[in-house]
């Protein structure tokens, strides 16, 4: 009799394990619009519901502080007071502006959060895209200089005519900030997609890393260049294919070179940055696109002045996909079928 009881228990255990394969793990996914983009947040575990709510609340709070277009935001107030006086900043706004300054310094201004007047001249923030006159750009370029953003304690000041836009760094910062919020709640498995900035909190519940595809810039809706593994990191991508317009037969994209005021054309189709620092990953993807392959790799080899190390995936116009060696063992290259070749960059 004992033997039969033992057999039944063994069989029930096997059956339960088999049924477990259907994915009984608690999980919650929410999609919402914030920071002028679409966001998707998935949290796993018993606190999934509370976790997604906490992320949404944190993102909304950051948007309220960092938006350049919402009249109640700190950055809006900073821009409105340009040339007149200093304005107080929250810890988050200070942190993002300080990080923006560090990335600007490390990239010799290839990333510059004061490029806002130029972006407005091109009509990207207002969705009235057009080519500004050379005279307009020449008049506005002197207003683009990250070194003029003065931060003292919790106060910040901008010279007259200048304006800050944190759109190229805030989503990455938000990803890292939300990840910390989840960790503080005891959540160790979540995936945040904040407008294409992907932040992994831990990995899958079995400990395996998240698998993140990088879009093929020549066929972004359908094809992928590669698939990378992500554990407690953020992957951010910038490419000219994301937002553009055509005027008089010429296509102009939205990544503007702060040195010229025109769309950056330095041989790259897209740049993906992977880093434990989400804000840095976001800002560097723009900066490295502006810098081009050679300077981007030089920065990767010597990231002095940046708060965290990072890895790169550079999709070049000539069909080469340059991957830095830190990704070599975990990256699955998918670009052969579309004519790409993969190169590993070493230090």
């Amino acid at each position: 009799m004992k033997r039969q009881v033992f057999s039944v228990c063994l069989a029930l255990a096997m059956g339960a394990a088999l049924c477990g394969c259907t994915g009984g793990e608690a999980r919650k996914t929410v999609q919402f619009f914030a920071m002028d983009t679409t966001m998707s947040v998935t949290v796993y575990g018993e606190q999934a519901q509370a976790g997604t709510a906490a992320v949404q609340q944190a993102v909304n709070g950051l948007e309220a502080a960092l938006s350049a277009t919402r009249a109640e935001s700190e950055i809006y107030a900073l821009n409105a007071a340009a040339g007149m006086g200093a304005v107080p900043l929250s810890q988050d706004a200070q942190a993002v502006l300080t990080l923006a300054g560090a990335v600007s310094a490390a990239t010799d201004g290839a990333f510059d959060c004061t490029i806002s007047p130029i972006m407005v001249a091109w009509g990207f923030p207002t969705e009235s895209r057009h080519v500004p006159t050379e005279g307009t750009l020449a008049a506005l370029l002197p207003l683009v200089d990250w070194r003029e953003v003065a931060i003292s304690g919790d106060m910040a000041f901008l010279p007259a005519g200048m304006a800050v836009d944190l759109g190229a760094i805030a989503k990455g910062y938000a990803g890292e900030k939300c990840a910390q919020t989840l960790v503080d709640m005891g959540i160790n498995s979540a995936l945040l997609d904040l407008g294409g900035n992907i932040t992994g909190v831990g990995g899958h519940s079995d400990g395996s890393p998240w698998r993140v595809a990088v879009k093929d810039p020549n066929a972004p809706a359908e094809e992928v260049l590669c698939v990378i593994s992500l554990l407690n990191q953020t992957a951010s991508t910038s490419g000219g294919y994301q937002r553009y317009f055509t005027e008089d037969g010429v296509t102009y994209h939205h990544i503007i070179d702060p040195a010229t005021g025109y769309p950056a054309e330095h041989g790259l189709l897209s740049v993906t940055v992977i880093s434990s620092n989400g804000g840095q990953a976001d800002a560097l993807s723009t900066a490295c696109f502006v810098m081009g392959e050679e300077k981007a790799l030089a920065l990767w080899r010597d990231p002095a002045g940046l708060p965290a190390e990072f890895e790169l995936i550079l999709c070049c116009e000539d069909g080469r996909v340059v991957v830095t060696e830190g990704l070599e063992s975990s990256l699955a290259f998918k670009g052969e079928a579309n004519g790409y070749t993969c190169e590993i960059a070493r230090r």
Binding site: L12, M14, V214, T237
Partner: protein, 138 residues
């Protein structure tokens, strides 16, 4: 010549035909339960259209059908075209036109977003995304 020793424990653990029958029955029941709980239409490609978070349309892209063209009444009216295996926004009065630039989408996990309208078209399949990816950057 000694007497062969027979362990009571070894005798107790030796499986019999009935043990096998019990194990097979429970495993079979588990497999049946797994099949019953499987999402319907395994491998089916579906597109869900949301406007400001609310589902306004769904398309079954896996079965042969005539192309469907649907105007959506939203802040900037747009035209969705769906046919077997793929979907796109072919016209839009939105200012940037990024949603039209996206073109056809046919892979599970793919998305078309019209930010000015807060409209999202998401493709999914019961079999999950191709390559088993969790997210896409770009």
């Amino acid at each position: 010549m000694g007497i062969p020793v027979k362990s009571r424990g070894a005798d107790w653990l030796r499986p019999t035909l009935w043990d096998g029958v019990v194990i097979a029955a429970v495993v079979a029941a588990a497999v049946l339960l797994l099949l019953a709980l499987r999402p319907a239409g395994g491998g089916d490609l579906r597109a869900v259209v949301t406007l400001d978070g609310a589902v306004i349309a769904q398309y079954d892209l896996s079965s042969p059908s005539q192309p469907a063209r649907t105007w959506v009444d939203c802040p900037y009216p747009l035209l969705i075209e769906a046919e077997q295996g793929r979907i796109r926004i072919c016209e839009s009065e939105c200012p940037g036109g990024d949603c039209v630039h996206t073109g056809w989408v046919s892979r599970a996990g793919g998305q078309i977003v019209c930010l000015p309208n807060r409209l999202v078209i998401s493709l999914s399949a019961a079999a999950g995304t191709q390559d088993g990816v969790d997210a896409v950057t770009g």
